[in-house]
Symmetry: C2
Subunit: 116 residues, 2 copies
DNA sequence: ATTATAAGACACCGTATGGTGTCGTGTCAA
DNA sequence: TTGACACGACACCATACGGTGTCTTATAAT
């Protein structure tokens, strides 16, 4: 019952480079109509519209009609899930932290201090 | 000429839930053979092997043969790209920060203070 | 009133993806 | 040495995906 109506996996939504570019463009412009977004790509309007639909299903984009154009804006909050996910693994790419976590694990498993 | 030999997009590699589950399993176990990983899923060995191949192409996994089994281990460092990417957008999902950035933008665009 | 623009809806298409099953081979165990 | 096991390499298949083009409708401009 939260704000985010994501019927689509956020990981999936950001997997496509075109969609990441859309996110980038929307982050720079507050609100943009479809035709203006389309102008930034080599593909046709329909394709861009489909990508935006995917982003919308993931809750990453909001749209509203203004006159004859549909304007899109970014809603970045679902990206928090990505950040949380990747934050969990950040401890694995620092050698020092890896050593530290191993030490902690060994202490947990062998509380009698049996280091080899 | 760096360490990471990623011939595949990391965003793409982590888009699949099965592959994220593989990453999770490997993060908990240091090194695991294919058959042991396969036992954690409902799909067959070939499918799991393919997912691991994708992770390998993204540089997220290393493998070595030991006897008749192929053991896999996690290499999380390519995930740094994800973290960097998402960190850029973290400023967009705090309401306070959004308001602040809007204020700054309005000041830049209309330095005469013409608010409607 | 007419014309141009913006976009939704839809049909269509080639290819990538995610799964299957099978066969052959190296390795470990009895 | 025989058999079971772990795996790679294929061939195969259904469906999802990322694109196209066309038609129609609502809106804006002239």
């Amino acid at each position: 019952m939260n704000e985010n109506n994501q019927s689509r996996d956020v990981f999936d939504a950001i997997a496509d480079p075109t969609r990441r570019q859309l996110i980038r463009l929307l982050s720079e412009a507050e609100e943009l109509p479809l035709h203006e977004l389309t102008a930034q790509f080599e593909m046709g309007r329909t394709a861009v519209s489909k990508h935006l639909a995917v982003l919308k299903e993931a809750g990453l984009v909001l749209d509203r009609r203004v006159g004859r154009e549909t304007r899109f804006r970014l809603n970045a909050s679902p990206l928090r899930e990505i950040q949380d996910w990747v934050a969990f693994y950040s401890k694995f790419w620092s050698e020092n932290l890896v050593r530290l976590s191993r030490l902690l694990e060994e202490e947990e498993e062998e509380p009698n201090g049996g280091l080899e």
